[in-house]
């Protein structure tokens, strides 16, 4: 998939909720039409949201079949100040995915290497990270 076209703006008032470390829940659509919610880590590139997952995970398969996703970001101590980003997956890339995952690890976790600091280093041989770019179609904020 390529990244082209325009995107709606992420409001300044709520950008901090998409630049971690916060709580972010992604909802994708399963092949049978049911929703699947899963916690993810994210950051921003301009007004586009970057998340990271593994090719082996169900949410990756869901996004391949249906690129329309939504995510809700909030802080646990103030959950009703939140932002919902509804958008489309416009890019799925293994290139640079591990570097991106390490950036997220430094933001959200302890350490700078996902495989080794956040999870066992051995898992590197079992999972293939994928960087996902989400272009917002609509943004809704609360609080």
């Amino acid at each position: 998939m390529s990244a082209k076209g325009s995107s709606v703006e992420i409001p300044v008032s709520h950008r901090d909720l998409l630049t971690g470390p916060v709580n972010v829940v992604l909802t994708t659509v399963m092949p049978d039409g049911q929703p699947q919610t899963t916690p993810v880590w994210c950051n921003l590139d301009g007004d586009e949201v970057l998340i990271n997952t593994m090719k082996q995970f169900q949410k990756y398969k869901n996004m391949c079949l249906n690129p329309r996703v939504t995510l809700l970001a909030y802080r646990l101590d103030q959950p009703f100040r939140n932002i919902e980003v509804r958008g489309r997956v416009v890019e799925m890339s293994e290139e640079g995915a591990l570097d991106h995952l390490n950036v997220l690890t430094a933001m959200y976790g302890s350490g700078s290497e996902f495989f080794g600091d956040s999870v066992d280093a051995d898992l590197r041989h079992k999972f293939d990270p994928v960087k996902i770019r989400i272009r917002p179609d609509r943004v809704r904020v609360e609080g």
Partner: protein
């Protein structure tokens, strides 16, 4: 390998929290999410909502929902140490009820402070969510150190009701 949890362990965590993120799918097959406050009774989650809210409309059209409940974790005496929230995720079936359809106990828990406001109640609905299949957990029933290892931190338990 996942942590073996009992349904009661997970329900206890759910009952100790009040905030969840609910995911829905619109009639156009698009995902939606919103934060909600719930109360738990007899293996169901209950959520109060304006009757004309979009989540009510979407659930009427597609009752399948998915919820993620965050559970706060922190290192005692060192709250600055970053620990990801533990989570409980499950799918379920939702239905829309009138406030008068729920028991007095649930009604009072949901509408605390507005039980006499008939005008407001007339425009309010109750969403009942019945969890299905399994709870998928991360960091529930494990130590903070074990949360760093997905093999040790992931858990699963049947919904059990």
């Amino acid at each position: 390998m996942t942590v073996d949890l009992t349904p009661d362990q997970v329900w206890e965590e759910i009952e100790q929290n009040v905030f969840a993120v609910i995911g829905m799918v619109t009639k156009d097959n698009e995902a939606r999410t919103v934060g909600i406050v719930y109360v738990v009774r007899d293996g169901r989650l209950y959520i109060a909502s304006d009757s004309d809210a979009w989540k009510v409309r979407h659930i009427k059209e597609n009752p399948h929902v998915s919820l993620t409940i965050p559970v706060h974790k922190s290192v005692p005496l060192m709250p600055w140490v970053k620990i990801p929230a533990a989570t409980i995720t499950f799918c379920g079936e939702a239905k829309i009820l009138n406030p008068s359809d729920v028991s007095q106990d649930i009604f009072e828990a949901l509408f605390r402070g507005m039980t006499e406001d008939q005008e407001r109640l007339a425009s309010t609905s109750v969403i009942e969510v019945k969890p299905e299949k399994d709870f998928i957990t991360y960091g529930i029933g494990v130590s903070l150190m074990q949360m760093r290892d997905p093999k040790l931190a992931r858990g699963r338990a049947p919904v059990g009701v």
